[in-house]
Amino acid sequence: MRTRPSHPLIELRRLHRYFGDTKAVRDVSFEVDAGQVFGFIGPNGAGKTTSMRILATLDDPTAGDAFIDGFSVIDDPDRVRRRLGFMPDYFGTYPNVNVKEYLDFFARAYGLRGRERIAAVEHAMDFTLLNTLAEKPINGLSKGMKQRLCLGRTMVHDPGVLILDEPAAGLDPRARIEVRGMIARLADAGKAVLISSHILTELAEICHVVGIIEQGQLLAVGSVDEISQQSQLLRLVRVRLLGGAGSLGNWLETRSDVHEIHLDGELATFSHHGDRESEVVLLRDMVQAGFPVVEFGTKAKSLEDVFLHVTNGRVQ
């Protein structure tokens, strides 16, 4: 058996990609280990596809680098390609080709020969439940079948790393459950899987780790639970004091649940860590300490904004 390598199977190191003035990806770094499913969550235009295309050696970063099984996607795309399966958000189709021929072609393109190739094609069709459709022309497939065929093509050469761009987008609930099951099984087989979505709930169950990305920046990385707690607990507080907020600064700095304090005339803004009840405590403490509070407002940090968007699947 393979020993566990010293490096992660997927690694992004300070990845940047600019298209002219559009900063599609800004300083994104994260790692994915073998057997792990990493969910890349963010609204449309957040930079998910751009990052994934760089990982798949289809595009070059403006700065930074990414590594698949320790090999740079910039310098050694040939070695990266051998161990990588990429499923883009489109379906590349050929006329006059059936399901089996399609998979057979990609198996050949990945250098599989003879029995090995036949077995790989059979396995891909078994795995994606396409056996009964082997002779069906690919242009006549339904959306769900096409998605499964894409997955079959992506895994036909048994890569250690899978990068799937919105694999569940546009599927009916039943097909989505099927695809999720397949992805989970691939991770169980020891593959590192990176999947993207603009809807958190779509993937929440199968992702070991999720990363929230917006406007090219990675806002948070962690398990789904960690992130949802984090985003509920961190809120922005705005306080207006009669006659200037200057004296409040020192008082706030003594508290451990308050960070990033900004004072500006009558206004004090800071971030507060805690649930809604602790906000009530904070206000009471402030008033009891004799501060003339005339206004007290709290607002979700942008992380929660994003989180809300992605959890509801709302498109920005």
Partner: protein, 566 residues
């Protein structure tokens, strides 16, 4: 009447049938396994596209049309010729008619099909899927070419029997038929590889539409040209088939074809190779080989004219004209190639830096093969200079060996000045172009096509501006050459060799142009030096690790026959 067979005989026959089908089955399985093994060796793209073609209606339709055209031509031909078919030489006429039918698919359909097949992969996004597979760019282009070749074979097999039939009609010899067919097939493959290069040239929709229209027009032009050439060859060809020179010229044409094919193939491959890989060195080697072949043939031509003159008792041979022609061709060649090389990116990828030469000699001679505008500039100039030096060697050696006189049309001085000034012009213009490109690069990417346009613009500027000045400020009707036109490289160079003696301006030009060239060269010097200074970097640890894992330490080999006896 129904015969009832005897039961015993029947069962015997039944068993025999089983045995036969069993053996048949086995043979069939063997064949199938063999085919599968062969199929495994074939290019994946070829396998896929052949499968597609078999199912494609369009392909079937074209094939049926060709067959129908062949049949109609045959019947019409026989009907028109009538009984004269038995005594007149009607082969050539029929051959030409069939050639029309064959040349169309080979000159237009196959190359355009190759172009479309790659362009369509890019439009339908399947190209990206292919490019991230482990297929190399070379395999992709070969696969497309092989598919084009299979199509070509199918068309050929439809028409070939009829071409053989024209041989029976008399008037066509088998050699002419074979030669014409061979050239048509080679031409078709050459056009196909050009089509593939064009398909890689641009990703933009408008560019692709424009390119495909131009390509189809060009292919039609080639088709008409091919048919006319074939006509000429059928009418006149038999006279030259016996000439030794004819075959020599054929060999030279084949050399040019082969090397150009190689360069276009490598260029198409380079276009679809990932950016960090070395896309320049193979092309530079191919250019060098092509140049070497050209020089070889030109040297042969010099020897040939000298020997011919000697054989005829003539003591004069136009060696200098051959050398002059050769260096003009080389000058244009390295100017164009240099323009493309100076458009390369100045950034040497880490991947390329891993393979840089390490030894002193390696660095001295091989650095110029590395990708980069500076090395490309030097590569072009160095090649042109060495070609011209070789020309001078031939010019001095050959006549003295054969005691024959040269320099009859043009004087030695003229040749000498022409070459010095010529190298100067190439160095000057390439250098200015390279410098401008490096400036533009600060603001925008410069694709190769843009660099070529820029260089053409510079040369045109050098020709037109003095002309404008002359028309505006000089007395009307004055059309003579003067130093005002020093920037016009065509006119200046032509002026030097046009008449029997050197023109007055040559003495100024020979100082002016090379000094300007040197100036521009030093303007670029720092950029060149920066490229040359790169040293080899070590392989990343991960690669070393993988290479080691792939090649496990060899089991201890017996050092002598006695080692293994234990």
């Amino acid at each position: 009447m129904i015969e009832t067979p005897k039961p015993v005989a029947s069962s015997e026959r039944f068993l025999a049938t089983i045995a036969v089908t069993d053996r048949g089955q086995m043979v069939w399985e063997h064949i199938e396994a063999w085919l599968a093994r062969m199929g495994d060796r074939l290019n994946p793209i070829l396998v896929k596209e052949t499968r597609q073609a078999i199912k494609s209606r369009q392909f079937t339709l074209t094939f049926v049309l060709v067959l129908a055209a062949v049949w109609i031509t045959t019947f019409a031909g026989i009907a028109i010729m009538g009984p004269s078919i038995y005594y007149s030489a009607s082969g050539p006429g029929m051959f030409w008619a069939y050639y029309w039918i064959l040349a169309f698919p080979l000159a237009v359909v196959v190359p355009y099909g190759a172009y479309r097949s790659l362009a369509a992969e890019r439009e339908d996004n399947t190209y990206e899927l292919l490019s991230i597979s482990t297929l190399t760019p070379r395999q992709i282009i070969w696969g497309k070419l092989a598919s084009a070749f299979v199509q070509l074979l199918v068309y050929l097999s439809a028409v070939a029997p009829c071409l053989a039939f024209t041989y029976l009609l008399r008037g066509m010899d088998i050699l002419s038929i074979a030669l014409l067919l061979a050239y048509t097939v080679l031409g078709s493959m050459g056009l196909s590889v050009i089509g593939l290069l064009l398909a890689t040239a641009t990703k933009e929709r408008y560019g692709q539409v424009l390119l495909s229209v131009l390509f189809v027009l060009a292919l039609f032009g080639v088709f008409i040209g091919a048919v006319q050439l074939a006509y000429f060859f059928i009418e006149e060809g038999y006279q030259i088939l016996g000439d030794f020179e004819f075959w020599i010229v054929n060999l030279a044409i084949l050399t040019a074809y082969g090397t150009t094919f190689g360069i276009v193939f490598l260029a198409a491959t380079a276009q679809i190779t990932f950016t960090s890989d070395n896309r320049s060195t193979p092309l530079r080697i191919a250019m060098l080989i092509q140049m070497a072949c050209f020089i070889g043939w030109m040297a042969y031509a010099c020897f040939y004219v000298v020997q011919e003159s000697t054989r005829r008792g003539n003591r004069i041979a136009p060696v200098e004209e051959i050398v002059l022609t050769a260096s003009i061709v080389c000058g244009v060649y390295w100017f164009i190639m240099g323009t493309m090389m100076t458009a390369e990116s100045p950034v040497l990828s880490r991947r390329v830096q891993r393979g840089l030469p390490r030894s002193y000699l390696g660095r001295l001679f091989l650095t110029w093969f590395n990708p980069g505008p500076g090395t490309g500039y030097v590569f072009a100039i160095a090649n042109l200079t060495s070609v011209i030096l070789m020309g001078f060697i031939i010019l001095t050696v050959v006549p003295s060996w054969y005691t024959i006189s040269t320099f009859n049309a043009v004087s030695f001085d003229q040749i000498f000045y022409f070459h010095i000034i010529g190298i100067g012009y190439v160095t000057l213009y390439l250098g200015i172009g390279k410098y401008l490109i490096s400036l533009i690069r600060h603001f925008a990417a410069v694709p190769i096509a843009a660099a070529v346009l820029l260089q053409a613009f510079l040369v045109a500027l050098g020709c037109l501006v003095p002309l404008m000045i002359q028309i505006t400020f000089y007395p009307p009707g004055y059309r003579g050459y003067s130093l005002l036109h020093a920037s016009n490289l065509f006119w200046s160079l032509a002026e030097i060799v046009d008449r029997g003696t050197l023109p007055q301006e040559a003495y100024t030009l020979v100082l002016l142009i090379p000094s300007l060239a040197l100036l521009v060269f030093f303007l670029n010097f720092r950029a060149i030096a920066r490229e040359v200074r790169h040293e080899r970097i070590e392989l990343p640890a991960r690669i070393v690790e993988e290479e080691a894992a792939m090649r496990p330490p060899a089991a201890p080999q017996p050092q002598s026959p006695w080692d293994n006896t234990g």
